[in-house]
């Protein structure tokens, strides 16, 4: 069995009540890992698009794709794991009880990791990062070691196939 690794799927689904529940239920019912799932409408109001990240081995991942494909409400399943895609995730980190020193280093962190400080309080800062999930993981890890009082919200990755730029 191939080792576990992270994989990405993009789904076109009917924009109907219950579809999200059906897909998440499929993952829980069959014990598939669901790392993140994002969903939103598209240019066509009847269709939603989902980006799913899952950690699985080759065989399980094949099953996941097949199981998704046989659902009536799922129009198309695209495996983005090996494709050239653009994929980003939004991450908010709120740091509370900051000293002046903390604030300076937070501005530096934001600069280094291509984030932005988007809100400011007497003893707190709010940072925003829009980058790959892996980079956001690194930011969260760093923030956790440097600061004790943080609040993290992340959106899950959304992805789309590249047009001409051949990197991820």
């Amino acid at each position: 069995m191939e080792k576990l690794r992270k994989r990405w799927l993009s789904l076109y689904v009917e924009n109907q009540i219950g579809v999200l529940s059906k897909i998440s239920g499929l993952f829980s019912g069959k014990s598939y890992n669901l790392d993140s799932l994002t969903v939103g409408t598209t240019e066509d109001a009847t269709i939603s698009r989902m980006t799913i990240a899952t950690v699985s081995d080759d065989e399980t991942f094949e099953q996941i794709k097949k199981q998704l494909n046989r659902q009536v409400e799922i129009i198309k399943v695209i495996d983005m794991t090996e494709m050239f895609i653009k994929m980003k995730e939004i991450l908010y980190v709120k740091v509370k009880k900051c000293t002046a020193e903390d604030k300076t280093s937070l501005f530096q962190i934001a600069g280094t990791f291509k984030g932005r400080v988007i809100d400011y309080g007497r003893d707190s800062l709010l940072l925003e990062f829009v980058q790959t999930g892996a980079k956001n993981d690194a930011v969260i890890k760093l923030m956790k070691t440097e600061f004790h009082n943080i609040e993290v919200v992340r959106g899950g990755s959304v992805g789309i196939e590249s047009i001409s730029v051949m990197d991820r």
Partner: protein, 571 residues
């Protein structure tokens, strides 16, 4: 433009779909539909006595006619009662359309009286389910439901009908075409893959056909038999695939799996090419996975991509309907030199034939042997337990005989109602139901349905006074501690020797008679044939034959739980 109510449109839709029989149980949210049905004569309505049985009846009807089974129940408890039936149909790929009533839209989400989220509850056990939220969508959704249920890998579809949507006036047209962008079942066959598989078949030394329920679902038995006879390759089947080739054909080795024939399991273990059609390699047939068919390359033909390379790795996957694939295979197949291989298999059959110990009074095989002789044309429906395994082992099947049972889910209580459904769909074919005394009591109320519909079903209850299949495990693996399986005593009764066991409850013969059916009790081998004859004379009423069986009767061979397929307990 003419407008009609949703209720009227549903009746019209059923007629246009060619539905001649539906199984319905009324309630507040479907009373209007009941009224519409009362005012027409084209569709026969059957009133079972419990919604679980209702679905099994529609299921038995569908499996034995090839038509879609149609169910209609009310919201809330009516809907939750269909869950077991839908799951049963789902795991055996049976086409059903189940309509559930629902509270009016403005009450949905309020915990209204008899409101349940039945679409949510059944999401993982149906092929598709949806609540109709707009009257305009009703026709399209019904059309799609029938299409989804019967196409591709068939399965149950649930349509939830809010009462106000059904009362609303709207379009009178029922669509004639379907176009579902997310659902395009496979219709072609990959010829290249088929030719590769045939090449393997022609060059293998020990090729073996492994046939699953897919053959029966596709009604491809005749084609497969032709293919097997042309290629001279021996055949093993799952219990759901039994009948894929007549069981008396010399090429038929037996069922494989947990209670498979010794020679069949042995052949799988020795084969160098498993050519499998319409099976999902369920754990009950493979035994320990890494010891399954260790020497074989595997060809797998199945309509459902997700069944392929799921439990076992397949060398040549072919996604196709069994019938479509076989039409080509019959054309390409050529005689293979399998004489030595068939002789080897025959050796195993002779060494360890499928048989049962001869009993001084009457054993299960005695009954099934008589049944095999007494009927030329037959539908056999089994419930779940030891008697089911006996039935699967010893029932002879050919073009004129069909056998159905709950294979995937193993639902006790399935047999009797499914047999009623089968008889309704096949008024001219004798239907014999085989049930245990435990499972018989799970839907025994259906005697009322069978009597009122004047159905001559023959219900054989193998009464061993225990939940036999569980008892078998207790006897073999749990030191004969028969907890919760003794149907004559309390659940945790411990034998002390001196105590008298109470009489069996109920008295099945009297019970049958109280419903207006015929009841016969048989205790000796010599009485079996006569009982069947008396049952056959009963043209307009059901007959229950209670066969009193020794509880120590065991199903053998048995693959050691968790063991390899050829690691069998033979007696």
């Amino acid at each position: 433009m003419k407008k009609i109510s949703g209720n009227k449109l549903l009746i019209k839709a059923l007629k246009e779909e060619g539905v001649d029989t539906i199984f319905g149980y009324p309630g507040a949210t479907t009373i209007d539909l009941g009224d519409e049905l009362y005012r027409q004569d084209d569709i026969r309505v059957i009133l079972p006595r419990h919604e679980q049985a209702l679905v099994h009846e529609a299921d038995g009807y569908a499996r034995t006619t090839g038509k879609v089974g149609v169910c209609l129940v009310t919201s809330g408890p009516g809907a939750t009662n269909v869950v077991t039936g839908l799951a049963t149909a789902n795991y055996d790929s049976v086409p059903l359309v189940c309509f559930t009533g629902q509270v009016p839209r403005h009450l949905i989400g309020n915990d209204a009286f008899q409101e349940v989220d039945i679409v949510g509850i059944t999401r993982s056990i149906t092929k598709y389910g949806v609540t109709v939220r707009n009257r305009d969508d009703l026709g399209r959704i019904i059309k799609e439901a029938f299409y989804i249920a019967r196409s591709g890998r068939p399965g149950p579809v649930l349509i939830d009908l809010p009462k106000d949507v059904m009362a609303e006036l709207g379009k009178a047209e029922y669509p004639t075409e379907v176009n579902i962008r997310g659902y395009k079942p496979n219709t072609g066959v990959h010829i290249g893959q088929l030719k590769k598989s045939i090449k393997l078949l022609h060059t293998a030394k020990k090729p073996l056909f492994l046939i699953g329920g897919g053959i029966n679902i596709a009604w491809a038995n005749g084609l497969f038999t032709e293919f097997a006879r042309k290629t001279q390759v021996p055949v093993v089947t799952t219990i759901m695939g039994r009948g894929g080739i007549p069981t008396e054909d010399p090429l038929f080795v037996g069922n494989l799996g947990m209670h498979g024939a010794y020679a069949a399991n042995k052949a799988v273990a020795e084969s160098d090419l498993l050519f499998s059609i319409g099976t999902r390699f369920n754990d009950r047939i493979t035994g320990k996975l890494d010891k399954f068919a260790p020497n074989a390359k595997i060809v797998h033909i199945d309509i459902d991509t997700s069944s392929i390379s799921r439990n076992i790795q397949v060398d040549i996957p072919i996604v196709a309907n069994a019938k479509d694939a076989l039409e080509k295979l019959v054309e390409y197949g050529e005689p293979c030199d399998t004489k030595a291989w068939r002789d080897e298999i025959r050796g195993w059959q002779e060494r360890q034939p499928l048989d049962m110990r001869k009993h001084h009074t009457m054993g299960p095989k005695d009954i099934l042997d008589v049944m095999n002789k007494e009927f030329e044309k037959l539908i056999v429906v089994s419930d779940v337990g030891q008697h089911q395994m006996f039935t699967a082992q010893f029932t002879q099947l050919d073009e004129k005989k069909q056998m159905i049972m709950s294979g995937g889910l193993g639902t006790m209580g399935y047999g009797f109602p499914a047999g009623i459904g089968a008889q309704l769909g096949n008024p001219d074919t004798p239907v014999v139901i085989i049930s245990g005394d435990g499972g018989m009591q799970m839907n025994i109320q259906e005697f009322a349905t069978a009597v009122l519909e004047e159905l001559p079903v023959i219900v054989c209850v193998f009464n061993n006074m225990f939940l036999g299949m569980v008892r078998q495990w207790q006897k073999l693996f749990y030191g004969k501690r028969y907890g919760m399986t003794n149907l004559r005593s309390g659940a945790l009764y411990r034998e002390s020797g001196s105590q008298e066991m109470p009489r069996y409850t109920p008295d099945f013969v009297k019970l049958a008679e109280s419903y207006g059916a015929q009841g016969i009790r048989v205790e000796k081998r010599e009485e079996i044939a006569q009982a069947f004859c008396r049952a056959k004379e009963n043209k307009n009423t059901p007959t229950l034959i209670e066969f009193v069986i020794d509880p120590d009767e065991m199903v053998f061979p048995m693959v050691q739980p968790g063991g390899a397929l050829d690691d069998m307990i033979v007696d």
